[in-house]
């Protein structure tokens, strides 16, 4: 534990027997102080953008892994997506910014929920710094209150801050394995369970996990790879016009963020509408049995372990269909998401140079024709 995170105003979710110490403080941790580059203005990187949109429509997909070169705007894309999402309603003072309509997940324990005040806040994006300690990630004993009042209270960590938002890990491949394990566990279950130092608490932690890294600097263990929902390969554009466009837009944005954002506002609104409509439509998007069969066939042909491959494939295809406004999944959707959904799940020989991408593409061509 290295740092004391900013504390939130209401002392909720305390251990039984703790004394309340209301200390109104300004909440300063999630509000971005700088304008964010518009999502629609990002040049190229179509695969990454699509994967992020799918994850935003269907968070159950289990996170996105973006592997590739430096300086390609991975972090920009994630921040931009979060800013694109409409502000969310949250219970005032709730440390996990629970949805007032759903009620606090810790109903009964949460004192903030009783006040019934609702605030709106931007969708949080939390950075997980390399070298973060477990304490800081999952939360720990609130030291200040333990010292000043001798009570045991829980101090939420980064996972609590990321609830209902995004958790971004740069250089996920350099993160210690046990932390990645823990993050993936929480991301999959949507709940953070803390059992330490006499604290026993579980709180909601539903977030979209986005990891990035450069494979040349170290590989991720296969067990961990498999647990990311989608994986995308990010490359720097090699053609000159694209590169010029990237530099121009970045320069225009840095010179006058407000004007640049305004110029893209219409496009942003369109993407936002598409995203929200897709969320609405998701539950009603049908998955025909024939497509389930196709997905299963594809996974068998590729020899992916377990059923996670099929599940992710179907979920991603459904989210894509919802984004496209289709009523049900078709072959086209399956084909588009198959590579990001499956390429990191293939059993591989460490020395086999044929990348997952080519193997999945080959299998697709065999099954569905070129």
């Amino acid at each position: 534990m290295d740092r004391i995170a900013p504390r939130d105003p209401a002392p909720d979710h305390d251990m039984p027997g703790s004394a309340a110490a209301p200390k109104p403080r300004k909440r300063a941790d999630t509000a971005p102080t700088r304008p964010v580059f518009p999502f629609s203005a990002i040049v190229g990187q179509e695969e990454l953008k699509l994967a992020l949109l799918i994850a935003a429509v269907e968070p159950a997909i289990g996170g996105v892994l973006a592997f590739g070169d430096r300086g390609t705007g991975k972090s920009t894309a994630i921040r931009a997506l979060a800013a694109l999402l409409p502000k969310m309603k949250a219970i005032e003072g709730c440390r996990y910014h629970c949805d007032p309509d759903a009620g606090c997940a810790l109903a009964g324990d949460c004192r903030a929920a009783e006040t019934g005040h609702v605030v709106t806040m931007p969708v949080p994006v939390v950075d997980l710094p390399l070298g973060a300690t477990e304490d800081r990630v999952v939360g720990a004993l609130d030291l200040e209150r333990a010292l000043s009042q001798g009570v045991k209270a829980f101090e939420p960590g980064l996972l609590a801050r990321a609830n209902r938002g995004f958790l971004y890990i740069d250089e996920a491949n350099l993160l210690e394995d046990h932390l990645v394990d823990l993050l993936l566990d929480v991301a999959a279950s949507g709940e953070n369970v803390v059992e330490r130092e006499g604290i026993s608490i579980r709180h909601p932690a539903r977030f979209v996990l986005v990891g990035s890294g450069n494979p040349e600097e170290g590989e991720l263990r296969p067990q961990l790879l498999d647990r990311f929902g989608l994986s995308v390969e990010v490359r720097t554009p090699e053609d000159l016009p694209t590169r010029i466009e990237v530099v121009k837009r970045r320069d225009a944005f840095e010179r006058d963020p407000a004007a640049f954002t305004a110029a893209w506002a219409k496009e942003e609104a369109r993407t936002r509408k598409r995203l929200l409509a897709a969320r609405e439509r998701l539950a009603d998007t049908r998955v025909p049995d024939a497509m389930l069969e196709q997905a299963a066939k594809l996974c068998i042909a590729l020899g992916t372990d377990g059923l996670r491959g099929e599940l992710t494939l179907i979920r991603a295809a459904r989210a894509l269909a919802a984004l496209e406004g289709e009523a049900e999944i078709g072959i086209a959707e399956l084909r588009r998401v198959a590579v990001p959904a499956l390429r990191h799940r293939l059993r591989r020989n460490v020395l086999d140079e044929a990348s997952g991408t080519t193997r999945v593409e080959r299998a697709l061509a065999e099954q569905f024709g070129p």
Partner: protein, 579 residues
Amino acid sequence: MNAPAPATLPRGAEAASTPAPEQDSALAAALFAIAPAALGGVRLRAAPGPARDAWLASLKRLLPGAPLRRVPPTLPDERLLGGLDLAATLAAGRPVAERGVLADTDGGVLIVAMAERLPPGTAARIAAALDRGEVQGPAGVEPARVGIVALDEGLEDEAPPAALLDRLAFALFDPPPPADAPDAARIAAARARLPEVTIPEAVIEALSATALALGVASLRAPWLALQAARAAAALDARDAVTDADAMLAARLVLAPRATRLPAPPEDEQQDQPPPPEEPPPESENQRQPDQGELQDLVLEAAKAAIPRGLLAALAAGQLRAKTAATGKAGAERQAAQRGRPIGARPGALGGGAKLALLETLRAAAPWQRLRPKGPGRVAVRRQDFRIRRFKHHAETTTIFAVDASGSAALARLAEAKGAVELLLADCYVRRDRVALVAFRGTKAELLLPPTHSLVRAKRSLAALPGGGGTPLASGLEAAHLLAEQERRAGRTPLLVLLTDGRANIGRDGTPGRPKAEADSLAAARLLRAAGIGLLLVDTSPRPSPFAQALAREAAARYLALPQPGSGALQRAVKEAAGG
């Protein structure tokens, strides 16, 4: 938006008159002082000494009143981003936050000493602060618009983490003391003018094209070059960026990042189609000629500034090893001498033990009501002390030194390659690093600096050609150097030498078997003296007596490459590495 017609300038004239390094060094300092945060910073690669101090002093003169902080590379996060103030916390009995160095230096320059030792985690946090211009401190988001001066004292291919270097506009290699630097008033005037400076489209295009032609992959580079060009225009009290500014930016920002030589200039291949780095012409109409010429000029300027050594290396086709070395250094030097913190345990202070403050306070907290109040607010007893524990990195780096000479190639180079591949799979299981040194002709060559990436190892092995003499001594020496370097970084080196033992090129590159053999034996003795583990795999058709003698001198395990399979070899490496 047309650029001023460069037709008046003879092509390449600007580039040919390469400015004196004193001027470039002064210009880099001046441009950086105009907009430290926008330009990211300067990598100052030089040994400590009066020249480096003079450069820093001149930078300081240009930034009167701005905070200028110097920090060591091993800065804990509490100090970098903000954290607990130890003294105040104990006195007050509650955690007292303290601002971090980055927030404290807002609007100024942070000088990182010995940046080549910067742990990748710290570099990542500095990089994030550079990207966002703010840090997430203990008391919320604080502005941190800083520029970084990375003092790089690295030897050979030691370098600061790539994540940081990518964000620093300038790189100065052994800069001389700046000559006729502008004064602080002029810098301040330029800073005020900066937001007004406009950039013609042609300059943006020329800088992007130049970056691509020089093989600079990161898109940050052309953008940083643009910022440098803008600062240069402001320094000259102009409202628009000119071609000269663009050429200056290409020289200072893009040239040091070059990873390949641009295609030869047009005049040498007039009857051929335009070189690929040119944008697809024709479709763009009247601006086309200007733009093309400006690109050439900018490219020429950058090319002229590429260090001579790099040119030679690029021309010799050693590109892969070179870029890998500079690009990957960050991740590779991650094992700090002290290892990774792995929590705390109860223990006594002293003997270099570090107090884990928070854990100590946490241990004391539940007892506060029971303990009599002392003078301070917190009663901490000896039994509450928690000290930090560090895990020592016992990582192994397996260095393969492969004899790729003609005799070895004739014999069993393919089999040796197969054996190395088997061993690589084994290294993957143990999460070892691997490095590849090959020797043939007259010298040894580092094909692959230590890496975790097995795919790269396999690729460079597959691309290894055979032929030429056997400079065995040079091969041993190169592997030895690399092993020492790894050991300094806190890892355990293990050498695997694959050779047929027919040394015929001496250490100095001269042919002659007796001298070559004597040199090899001497190199082997040095290995033994340094205590570096060696496994010698004899690839000659029949076990070679000289290889056996060499193994004895180096106190190495000797193994004749088994016929026909290479399974026995794999077992041998396992044993040599201690299972």
